[in-house]
């Protein structure tokens, strides 16, 4: 039964505390600042913004040409 109580304490105290700490860490480290810049972080020079990076194998169709976002 002790293990069930430990689990209960974990669930109602430890996990919410971890979540709050994560939120505090994120706020302090600027994770909620400059959100537009973070949204672009998945792009790089190899796979840049404006380029489609997946296609069916085989000869490319006309619509697969690289398009820059307007």
């Amino acid at each position: 039964m002790i293990i069930v109580w430990l689990l209960f304490i974990c669930s109602v105290v430890v996990l919410p505390t971890l979540a709050l700490l994560a939120l505090r860490w994120a706020a302090r480290h600027g994770e909620f600042d400059h959100l537009d810049k973070i949204a672009l972080s998945i792009f790089d020079d190899e796979e840049p913004l404006g380029r489609m990076t997946d296609q069916f194998p085989g000869p490319a169709s006309s619509s697969q040409k690289i398009q820059k976002l307007s």
């Binding site: 689990l7 972080s41 020079d45 194998p57 619509s63």
Partner: protein, 507 residues
């Protein structure tokens, strides 16, 4: 064209600039570090997908053809169905999810996978654990608890193995080169922490130190609901948030909305589950809390749905050209549909009809397959060519895979929701008998829908087989290419050699 504008060839293969070469080298190094472990995890997952599909077909046939394979004790419905479920959940889905998580984490952290061989070792033990568990279920050692049927003697193997993998995810995050977290990383990190919590909680309260009475049902539903919502869903959403913008080359429509979606999921989802016990001998407040939490789930669902849809806005024509996008968009739309359907199912007036019917089964499959599995397929279509630097061998096989699975799961979900609702209405009507072959009864009225389910199962098996052939073919091409020339880190082979070759040869 002015002098500064890149040519089309440079746009496609811009290895002339130092920045691009460095960026390519970084990505190649990450992909190389992930290659062995991910190939192993994906191959294992695929094997479980095919095994699980066979057991799914057997179980489905037994629903309308009870004598099918009825002479074998180990192939009775009570064993075949849990084997299907556990092969899909702990075999295919978890293994693939871990593979996708590792790759996304490495890519987003811009860090190669450190000591990848340990992931391989963990993967071996995970597969051994799942195999022993499934054989144990067939041998009659099932725990008898839905979603936790794998015998308790296997649990330590799975738990320790998972802990090793999750630890590796956290270590990769710790050594990240990218300072800020992309929204996918929030989802992935949370999933890596949530899964051991819900899995250990359910194991302790249902298997090791079983709680008494109806509390068991409460814990069981809490686990079954949360393993989907706090383990598979975050990983599926993380993949969608990465791959849709990446493939269309456009950032997510509203990034702040994506964070609202994450934190509201974190806040509301784990209160869910009890709404499946409407009418049961449970405290009414407990069920009401779950119903309210289900209603609150409309916040993350709508934010995620809006973001996905508006990111795709103006790019839907690209679905024609991209296999990854097809699977991702199908998965994303299914997420919105299944989640809103789930909210509706949580209300007392609806649940009183649909609970204990095939409607619930359809809802679970819509979440686990139409959303999560399709997203995992899409992720593998993106990741594998980059890991192996080899193009997928056949567009026809990919199309067959997509259409078989998309039609198969659609044919599964909607007739079963409709049939299940009629079944629930029949069950609530005292004038309709439960089983009477001579007239309209609860059991006989479901038969047409169950037969449609078997047809849909066959379609799904066709799709999975096509994917299996594609995967094997891809690996063979990679082995062949590796024999001819080993790709270097600095100058990896192009992922799209045919497209680049066509551009080079164009006048």
């Amino acid at each position: 064209m002015n002098a500064a504008s890149p040519t089309l060839l440079q746009a496609l293969s811009p290895s002339d600039t130092e920045d691009v070469a460095a960026s390519r080298a970084t990505l190649a190094e990450i992909d190389r570090s992930c290659r062995g472990p991910l190939l192993f995890l994906f191959a294992g997952g695929l094997a479980w997908l095919l095994i699980g599909s066979v057991f799914a077909i057997i179980a489905s046939f037994k629903m309308h053809w009870p004598d099918f394979l009825g002479e074998y004790g180990w192939l009775t419905f009570g064993r075949v169905r849990p084997v299907h479920l556990n092969a899909m959940i702990f075999g295919f889905s978890t293994e693939t999810a871990i593979g996708v998580t590792i790759w996304l984490m490495c890519r987003l952290c811009r860090t190669p996978l450190l000591h990848g061989w340990l992931i391989m070792v963990a993967g071996v033990f995970w597969n051994v654990g799942v195999a022993i568990g499934l054989v144990g279920i067939l041998a009659g050692h099932s725990n008898g608890i839905e979603w936790l049927e794998i015998p308790s003697y296997v649990t330590p193997i799975l738990f320790v193995t998972y802990a090793l993998i999750a630890l590796w995810g956290v270590i990769t995050f710790r050594f990240r080169q990218e300072k800020h977290l992309y929204v996918s990383q929030w989802y992935l990190l949370a999933a890596l922490i949530w899964f051991p919590w819900i899995y250990s909680a359910a194991q302790i309260m249902l298997v090791m130190e079983p709680v008494r009475g109806t509390v068991q049902a409460a814990v069981n539903w809490w686990f079954a609901h949360n393993v989907l919502g706090l383990w598979f869903t975050p990983i599926g959403l993380a993949a969608i948030y990465y791959f849709i913008p990446k493939v269309v080359g456009k950032p997510v429509y509203n990034y702040s909305l994506s964070l609202v979606g994450f934190w509201s999921l974190a806040l509301f989802y784990n209160w869910n589950g009890m709404h499946h016990l409407v009418g049961g001998p449970m405290p009414a407040w407990l069920i009401t809390v779950s119903i309210v939490a289900s209603g609150m789930m409309t916040i993350p669902v709508i934010t995620v749905g809006l973001n996905h849809h508006l990111t795709m806005w103006g790019n839907f024509k690209k679905l024609k050209d991209s296999p990854v996008l097809r699977f991702m968009v199908f998965g994303g739309m299914s997420y919105t549909l299944t989640s809103l359907h789930g909210v509706a199912l949580a209300f007392r007036s609806v649940s009183e009809v649909t609970h204990f019917t095939h409607s619930t089964i359809a809802h679970a499959h819509q979440g686990m397959y139409a959303f999560f599995t399709m997203v995992m397929f899409g992720s593998m279509y993106y990741i594998l060519p980059r890991l192996l630097a080899v193009e997928w061998p056949s567009a026809r096989l990919i199309r067959l895979h997509f259409w078989s699975c998309a039609l198969g799961i659609t044919l599964y979900v909607f007739p079963m929701i409709y049939g299940g609702t009629l079944q629930g209405m029949a069950m609530n009507n005292p004038d309709i008998p439960f089983l009477d072959p001579s007239k309209y009864s609860v059991v006989t009225m479901t038969l047409p829908y169950l037969k449609i389910r078997s047809v849909s199962g066959i379609l799904l098996v066709v799709g999975h087989t096509a994917f299996g052939i594609s995967f094997l073919w891809l690996v063979l091409r990679w082995l062949q290419a590796a024999r001819l020339a080993r790709p270097s880190v600095a100058q990896p082979q192009s992922v799209f050699p045919r497209l680049q070759s066509a551009i080079r040869n164009s006048p």
